[in-house]
Symmetry: C5
Subunit: 92 residues, 5 copies
Amino acid sequence: MEILRVVDELVCTRRVPGMQLCALRVLESAQGALSVATDPVGAPAGKWVFVTAGSAARLAMKDATTITDLTICGIIDRWEEEAGNIGTMQNS
Amino acid sequence: MEILRVVDELVCTRRVPGMQLCALRVLESAQGALSVATDPVGAPAGKWVFVTAGSAARLAMKDATTITDLTICGIIDRWEEEAGNIGTMQNS
Amino acid sequence: MEILRVVDELVCTRRVPGMQLCALRVLESAQGALSVATDPVGAPAGKWVFVTAGSAARLAMKDATTITDLTICGIIDRWEEEAGNIGTMQNS
Amino acid sequence: MEILRVVDELVCTRRVPGMQLCALRVLESAQGALSVATDPVGAPAGKWVFVTAGSAARLAMKDATTITDLTICGIIDRWEEEAGNIGTMQNS
Amino acid sequence: MEILRVVDELVCTRRVPGMQLCALRVLESAQGALSVATDPVGAPAGKWVFVTAGSAARLAMKDATTITDLTICGIIDRWEEEAGNIGTMQNS
């Protein structure tokens, strides 16, 4: 699973059937690459999350017939990002 | 799902069976990489879209037996691209 | 689907069962990366083709039990390549 | 399968159902990229492991309905890492 | 399918069940990236091979329930590698 940060909601009026009811989020990697994921956990902007890709992305949705190849699986509790380098998590 | 821009239609006379009736689009990433996707939504050139890959690409087609590994799932309503960096979407 | 150019046939005497009858092609990306694909369309060297990956690569073969993860799906009619940048296709 | 090093446990309170009981590990590639994997073997921090991705990641779990796209498959016995280059394993 | 060179055997005592009987090889890409593959063909160190990824990796094994996402499919008969550039194969 990849570690990405939530940037924003995706606004998209014209979609394929089978995506109508999904919340979509724009995510950004530590390297700045953007992607779009379905969001069953309600991840707010600014949070670091981890996502699952491929067929597992569908299984992670309540309705496994949803059209997706990337789904947010969890919100990471603590994630420190240092300059150009994502640090490891620390429990406190 | 990746975020790509529609460049053009793909002209391809000699194809494998199972692709004959699909509209094909050439897409470009923010980094300039080109790829080909099946298009069930009718995305015009110049528009930013998001695409689904893998087995989800077949499920996104009306006919799920279509041979494809990349399908356009939706046209993004607003997408600002700044120099060397794709900006976030803004609702107005 | 990715856009690649046919370089040559692949000569490979010792293979896993289930690949014996497939034509194999060495393909090159615009960035110079090489890969191997099964070829059900008979693409000659020098031609630009598009390929499908993953489980779709098997479905694109006449015999869907063929062992492959990359199959040539079609030969692109016109494809202009400029220095360091693949141009868009033009119909004439 | 990719070769990665275990960095830490992942702390994540809010997850999709179907991940509740899995141990999660943060892994780092030789290039410094981070990812998250499910861990059925109990790999301690600092160890080099190899991971399987895609649908095989689910099959590698005791419960194959687990939501994951990356699973630790084994701990590598000996793995020497030299400056900027991972060396080959040596049996002694 | 990707083209990789066999570096060595992988020594790994602690593995997930379902991998016990597989020969594992460490492979290196032309760019120096390392990965691990299951080997049903008996590829010796130093040889260039091509590998299949994803679900096809399991189908390429004699026992398709084997846990793997990368399997060696064949040993390439001739493969010339020039400085910084893998050359094409030549039949003689």
